[in-house]
Subunit: 226 residues, 2 copies
Amino acid sequence: MTQIETAAPPPRPRAKPAGKREQTKQQNRQIILDAARSVFAEHGYGATTVRDIIRATPLASGTFYNYFQSKEEVYQAMQDETALAIRPRLREAREKAATVEEFISATFRTFFEFVLRDDVDVRAIRHNADVTRMRVDTPEVIAGFDELREDIEKAIARGLFPPVDADYLMAAIVGVAFEVAERMARREAPDANVAADFATALFMGGIRALPHTANGNGKAAENTGA
Amino acid sequence: MTQIETAAPPPRPRAKPAGKREQTKQQNRQIILDAARSVFAEHGYGATTVRDIIRATPLASGTFYNYFQSKEEVYQAMQDETALAIRPRLREAREKAATVEEFISATFRTFFEFVLRDDVDVRAIRHNADVTRMRVDTPEVIAGFDELREDIEKAIARGLFPPVDADYLMAAIVGVAFEVAERMARREAPDANVAADFATALFMGGIRALPHTANGNGKAAENTGA
DNA sequence: TTAGAAGTTGACGGCGCGTCACCGATCTGT
DNA sequence: ACAGATCGGTGACGCGCCGTCAACTTCTAA
């Protein structure tokens, strides 16, 4: 064509040439992840085979193995995405904290709200799980735990927290967060604020500081299982 | 032979004849469970196949399926054994409790001591688990959780506890117990008392009541993982 | 003693697994 | 613009695990 290379947009020598190969790779990876999410949701994690995922894809079996070694690795990649999504929010929430209570409260509230909004694949896993729970601690998830411990240590250093065992405190927060989130999600009308208030009160003042309930049983204890 | 049926012990018409068939069944079941324990410990749970378990056994493949449907079911049976072993101890420990502190303290101490003594197969699973944790909530395990909630509700009813959300409190206790136990087991010199004191203080008075440490970091935080 | 119930055996068809030789599409250098 | 080099997708293949089941052995009861 005539050389109107003055300004306008030519094919796009701009910014990133991207490269056709690289583009396809990103795309295939995403195709596999999307297919896996859908298949896990359908059949549950345990019952899903690598072949199921491949079938839910226009790709050949060999191609799958260019991207992941197993369904476990696919799942880890999904978990990493989740961890990467929530970690900055948690960090930010804790950074603003000027008191112990704000630190604890922000951590739990952010976590529980995230779980309620984003529980898509959490439920996908449950589908399978009358009995088996899985928690996959990928590097990103572990990094999230480490961040929490670091933040606790920093808070101790600047006198916000008393000098307690940061490792155990981190573990306690993580344990309560996961376990209460689980119960919360099963309730008829899950409420992140109720859960966060409960957890915060526990860490601030122990059992005696917990919010009192009318019947001594919260609004829960309806269906204990199946 | 001659009929000396007077008194002494004949082959044993006593108590339970037991029945040869029934005996063999019990025995085969145990053979499979033992083989599975050993194979899980060797290769890790994830990498183990039903065939591996069968091979570690003098039995034929068909026989395995007369007892269990899958390796998952074998593992569940193992977990049930564990749950059945600890549940009575926990119940007994809590029954004696005259105060909130005794209730909480006894629960954590009993659990952590059990984990340290009995972590045989806990570690077997970990072997596999650089990244994946599994918690299998078998009926027996769930029954243990329910017992804890019931005990909390009873304690609330007789005024020992304030009228709090028993479901969430149960979840919090379980979450802290499992997560802190995990950390405890990784320490150089795991100490059930230290862990129990930490958890008890947390539930009794919150973060401010936690035991203080010299360096603001407990004796932990050595190896954070692998 | 013997009929039949209960339980074990191992070979079998089916299928998911991970691989790899092949080939078309993309990139690179001239 | 072209050709050779490289990259990456393809799908058939051999392997081993899966769960089943007809034949057989062992036990029970009459």
